[in-house]
Amino acid sequence: MNIWAYIIRRLLYVIPVLLGVCLIIFVLFNLVSPDPTLIMLGKHASVSQMEDLRRELGLDRPWFLQYLDVVKSAFTFDFGRSWSTKQEIIEMIKAGAIPSLTLSIPAFVISTFLSISISLFVAFFRGTILDRTIVFLCVTMMSISSLAYILFGQWFFAFKLGLFEISGYEFGFPYFIPYVILPVLIWVMLGIGPDVRFYRTIILDEIYQDYVRTARAKGLSENKIMFKHVLKNAMIPIITYVIIQIPFLILGALLLETFFSIPGLGGIVLSAINSSDFPVVKAMTILISVAYIIFSVLTDVMYTLVDPRVRLK
């Protein structure tokens, strides 16, 4: 297939997926979820009160109009107002995004860099005691509940030893740093187990390819094989894996943000969940889904341009 035809087809596929995402969100929140007016007004609301509120929220209109609203909001990012705080949702999201990103970007960069380095190191020593020990350590680390890491880390390093801020946040460049160090460290600890294992598998998959045997046969050094041939080929799946995680960084870390009182999107989502604030939960879901769809198209297109084998499929 022509490369541009493939790319255009891939781009057009965004439309049905986006409509599908909106459909699932619409079905979950508008059709089958419990009546929101009941949640907002409590059990003793009169029927007329409920009807008024339904009209006010636009829930009395035909279902396809409500579905269209969801689709429209995915393009315009106009999500309306929060039910509980009455603020414009997009403004809430803009305000929450910055603290979230100050936590998630450094954490993501550090943990990705560290995991790839460790996995390269481990793959180099594949099959030895060192390799097995590190893999075992990874599995051990990822078997501990993430909540336990957060609770223990905060209690031990911040509360007991007083090395870091226990919780809180300050806006502005150097000021936020003391507040995010510990959450970043915990994030790295949480991610390193599964990531190292994943990257190691990718690299090992490459090491057992025929071209590596050929490279060895013509007498290349192990270093040259590793960094010039294996790493180059392994980079494609690694980059895909890295890029596809980026959309979820907007959400920050729901748990970390809550425990360390970072006023980010995670906290906004959590309080929206607790107060059944559907529009906010819907808005965040749509936003991350749209970002995910865009990023997955980008990786696919990039794949096509970089790796000629993909086009054959």
Partner: protein
Amino acid sequence: MSETKTQKSKSLWQHAFSELTRDKLAMLCLTVVIVYAISAIASALGFIGADWAKEVGPSYAPPSGDHIFGLDIFGRSVFDKMVKGTEVAMSIGLVTALISMVIGVTLGATAGYFGGKIDEFIVWFYTTFTSIPYIMLLVAITFILGKGLVAIYLALGLTSWVGLCRLIRGEVIRHKDREYVHAAAAIGGGDFRKLFLHILPNVLHIVIINFSLQFQTAIKAEVILSFLGLGVQGRPSWGTMIDDAKLELARGVWWQLAAATLAMWIVVLSLNILGDALRDALDPKLKGK
């Protein structure tokens, strides 16, 4: 030479079995999982941990000879709660893994085998599904189903089938034009027979590996649900125990967190190692590596 010819070659399953039984670590992990499963059944039948709700001493009594994991806020034995929690954890792991297995295999096999419009529809469906962040989907489903164990089963089960579905679809596509499937068609086997009696046994190893991984993922996810206030109520679970610890640690009460984390860590680690051992034993592509 003639001797080896008459000797029946080992099937994949025989080979995997002998490989697994030789792996001491995997056998140890299997034993651990079995012990947990027996504890869960014994606790469900009321043989152990039945007295978890009884007040046996002062609030927050630290670990001692009588109560190795101390007491909780109501003076209940943390050890008994931990034992009782096995029931919730193991049932969540089992039911969730079963739900995701049934959905994943059915959709994946249907898409892969029939192809065409059906395949396009199923691929569209899971592509759409994966575009929505997992935690939001989980929350939305628990919103609808309310609280309780059944809601947790369904929420975790309904959100975790995509990986398996994708794998099974790919494998079925690879298998459906193989000679043995054509042979089955030649002797009059219908679609149903070909798919379930001939192709599925050949992709069963993927299902088994996935099952053990899904099992432990679900046990870990229960903690997150408890934290979100969507967890089990009225009975102890490791998730609610860990969640309780957020108010206890500042007062120096670490034993409830320790007990639940330890209990969960041992079984999740065992399932992880077992899953890896199963993959090594069952995945022919990895043979000899």
